[in-house]
Symmetry: C2
Amino acid sequence: MSVMELKEAKDKFIHTWGTLATQWGINRTMAQIHALLLLSSKSMNADEIMADLQISRGNVNMNLRDLMDWGLIYKQLLPGERKEYFIAEKDIWKVAKQIAKERRRREIGPLIEAMEDIKEGIQPDTAEKEEFLKIVNDISKVSVFADNTMTSLLKSDENWLINNFIKIFNK
Amino acid sequence: MSVMELKEAKDKFIHTWGTLATQWGINRTMAQIHALLLLSSKSMNADEIMADLQISRGNVNMNLRDLMDWGLIYKQLLPGERKEYFIAEKDIWKVAKQIAKERRRREIGPLIEAMEDIKEGIQPDTAEKEEFLKIVNDISKVSVFADNTMTSLLKSDENWLINNFIKIFNK
DNA sequence: AAAAACTTTCAGAATATTTTGAAAATTCAA
DNA sequence: TTGAATTTTCAAAATATTCTGAAAGTTTTT
């Protein structure tokens, strides 16, 4: 029953990963494909993923492309094979960095732009306008700060936070 | 046309806030109510919010409760008034901290729990199982690290990162 | 150049989430 | 108490998102 036990655990992992992902704005199937590839020592092609997760070809194709956009999986061309194979980044620290990087780009970037856009053309010539501009400016500042913090956390492995992490991670 | 200009900018702010929020897992109406209250110097009651955003009573009620759960707005009981009034936290730094705190709780917590749960009862007695456990353990470690990092960032205003931020924010 | 192998697209179907609004529950004043 | 004012709930409707699968597009082999 040992093999079955592992299979069950893997299924549970894939299912859980899919469920959790929806909590943080990623769709279930994309997360499940990611989980499947994370657990697979070999790279897989679209047909294998379709069969494994019981989902359509279109769905697999679209989510594989999204996962590549996120930088979480790579395309692998096997010699003598026409089909495209996919393999997940297995270094979890790289995976986490990549997710953080993408979320920064997708969540913080647009916020900064939007605030700049809203400020445009408004003069602080009344108390009401001044109050409004204060809020917009404060949001700008917090966003830029969050963006910079993320960037510096991600950029340098010399950073004390990262070092602190590596200590924990390697033990 | 100065008053109109401000009204337009506020509407744009509310609309934009709502659109961006959906990108990061918060529903549009909740974000719009939050934006409306952020921009309002007075506290507002459910009827006023309904009229302003043209949404139903049930929707307003549900999202006000969610916003209170997130710690982004407060209930205010005005003397001589039966209706409940709501006011948003205006200190954007506190708002950002609160959002980060909630997201940590909602996104990282369940991940840590899930990984612990999956590990349960699996012995590393084959290479395959060992491989599987390595991934699960690595995700655990990254999650715990992210959780701790967030916590320490949020907990102490003595933290260098926060100080660094305050310098930027106050200038 | 044709055909086979494979990938991508996209309109409609299925599913999931959000919203409505009226009924039920609660609170408060008289 | 009673009943008017207000808030909460929740089933059904509206809306938004995701998924399917067949058709169109692309690449490679023969």
